[in-house]
């Protein structure tokens, strides 16, 4: 029985090297903008899975069927994949902006931050935007639902003013249901008076 298995294994190895021509391919992990290194598992047809989890770590399948594990340089990756990496759409992002108490007017700090959000949005040709308004726990449920939606609507007006088509912006108000900083009811908390802007 053992001998039989050996024969089978040998036959597989022979097939692996005997090299029916295959379509060459190259798989590589590239670092994210924040430096994070990902993980991929490459399984050649009829071969073993191989985990690749290093910066520019790669698996190359050659035309003769041989499989090589290599580490590419940043220059090599740019030369081969620069054009295609340039075509990646902007990464999804989330921004949080804060409001004055009981109002749909941004704090002075968030008005400054808004310019950064606008600058990001200008680089996205067709953004999908969700604006979610929130409040602190001061006041009743209905009052806060209305206020949170007013904040989201106000933000939408600003985004439309920037030239973003209205139909690309979804707005919702969550009232005091989703606190950033948990508090008792009826507590004034600046960090809970906010909108989240999710951009894709």
């Amino acid at each position: 029985m053992v001998r039989h298995l050996w024969v089978v294994a040998a036959a597989f190895i022979a097939a692996g090297c005997a090299c029916a021509p295959v379509t060459p391919a190259l798989f590589a992990v590239v670092p994210a903008a924040d430096g994070h290194i990902g993980r991929i598992v490459v399984t050649p047809n009829g071969g073993e899975p191989k985990l690749i989890d290093t910066k520019y770590g790669a698996e190359r399948i050659r035309a003769d069927g041989k499989v090589e594990n290599v580490t590419l340089t940043e220059t090599e990756v740019q030369a081969t994949f620069g054009t295609v990496m340039d075509a990646l759409p902007g990464r999804p992002a989330t921004y949080t902006l804060y409001f004055l108490e009981g109002k749909d007017e941004l704090t002075p700090e968030s008005k400054v931050e808004l310019d950064r959000v606008f600058a990001d949005l200008r680089h996205r040709p067709l953004p999908d935007i969700a604006v979610i308004g929130h409040t602190d726990t001061r006041g009743g449920l209905e009052y806060n639902d209305t206020l949170s939606r007013a904040r989201a609507e106000r933000m939408r007006e600003m985004l439309v003013g920037l030239g973003i088509p209205e139909e690309r912006i979804m707005v919702a108000g969550r009232g005091k249901r989703e606190l950033l900083v948990p508090t008792e009811d009826n507590v004034s908390e600046a960090r809970n008076r906010r909108v989240e802007i999710n951009v894709r």
Binding site: P24, V30, P89
Partner: protein
């Protein structure tokens, strides 16, 4: 108030019309076409993509796509990329994404489904299959005509 209600209704309709879309073309340079069944549609920024669509680029073409789970895929010149399977549940973040790069170059950033369950995203090529555990990677398949 009335204005708000009307807008909601309009959004509702748009949502219905786009229900089958699994992704959206966000970047289109040069020649980019979508093969959908027997039809070939020129792709521009804003074109919706569905399961089973094939993205085909010319020698000057490249395209960038966002999918509903926030994964990003771009293809370079002379590429053929098909969306063999795609599903994503926005509530549970469970899903399945099987792409197939028949030719050309691809770059990708995995999204919410891979965060939820590693290996839910796979890219096939003629000679191998790649499971994605996150997050950024590139793939090249040589043009078979050159071999």
């Amino acid at each position: 108030m009335r204005k708000f209600l009307i807008l909601l209704v309009a959004l509702g309709f748009a949502g219905t019309a786009l229900a089958a879309d699994v992704g959206l073309v966000k970047v289109a340079k040069g020649s980019v076409q979508i093969q959908r069944g027997a039809n070939k549609i020129p792709a521009t920024v804003g074109t919706g993509l569905q399961q089973a669509d094939v993205v085909i680029t010319g020698a000057d073409g490249s395209a960038g796509i966002t999918f509903t789970d926030n994964s990003l895929v771009s293809v370079g010149p002379n590429s053929v990329f098909s969306i063999d399977k795609y599903s994503f549940d926005t509530t549970t973040h469970a899903g399945e994404f099987e792409g197939n790069l028949k030719q050309g170059r691809l770059a990708a950033v995995s999204g919410k489904m891979v965060k939820q369950s590693p290996d839910s995203m796979k890219i096939r090529t003629p000679s191998a299959i790649m499971g994605v555990r996150g997050t950024e990677f590139v793939v090249q398949v040589d043009d078979t005509k050159k071999n």
